[in-house]
Amino acid sequence: MSLQIISIILGSLTLASALLVVFSKHPVRSVIYLVVTFFFITSMYIMMNAQFLAIVNMIVYAGAIMVLFLFVLMLLNLNKEAEPVTTKGSQLAAFIAGGSLFLVLITALKDTLTLGQTYRAHNDQIGLVKQLGNLLFTKYLVAFEITSILFIAAMVGAILLAKREKQIIE
């Protein structure tokens, strides 16, 4: 019962910080609130005993990707007046579209939301590093190796794109 209360508190804090990401005017504040959201999602992974993904989420998202976003924001040197805003009409349309998306997804997963209790698995060891490592390096070894090719392509692409154009001409 107490676990239920903790998960409800965590979920509402996650949603609150996600709303702050979307609605804060300053981009740097959005980044900070996104880091907070990722911390709460990490704590949810820990609550579900997915320890490996909790650690990876913390290191990769909150540690690496968000720092990258923050660095780019500081490199671009934006002032507050440059922040573009949408019109009221398109905001209303976006809210209606997002709300109906939410309702459709809730309706589609309505049975799952109630039936989830009956399918509760008794094996709570699947999220540990040992189990997932066994799976990753046997069944999904090829995909794991292809990931390295993806990373090399992304690295070369990022360097090539962010390079100053004068240097490319020379």
Partner: protein
């Protein structure tokens, strides 16, 4: 644990609303990251429902692809900002200058 499913659906909707309302290019990319995280949360929740580890491996690969996507996307934004001097999404109607 069923509450986590509700949270992930709501997170996805919030990310979609943010992607539609904000015009800042970087905040748009952040909203996409939020939606990716919502999907990850749902996959982990279902993985713990069924006691199957394959979904968690899939989440791991999603994180890998998201890292690569964020890197390339941010470098495209930096390149476009040098040419256009703006991060307004409406200015990005052509990438070729």
């Amino acid at each position: 644990m069923d509450f986590y499913l509700f949270v992930s659906i709501a997170l996805f909707a919030i990310g979609a609303i943010g992607a539609m309302t904000r015009k800042n290019m970087i905040v748009l990319l952040m909203c996409i990251e939020l939606m990716l995280n919502a999907v990850n949360l749902m996959l982990v929740t279902f993985s713990t429902f069924y006691g199957n580890g394959d979904a968690q491996i899939f989440v791991f690969f999603t994180m890998v692809v998201a890292a690569a996507e964020a890197t390339v996307g941010l470098s495209i934004i930096i390149m476009a900002y040098r040419n256009l001097k703006s991060i307004d999404i409406d200015m990005y109607n052509q990438l070729k200058n």
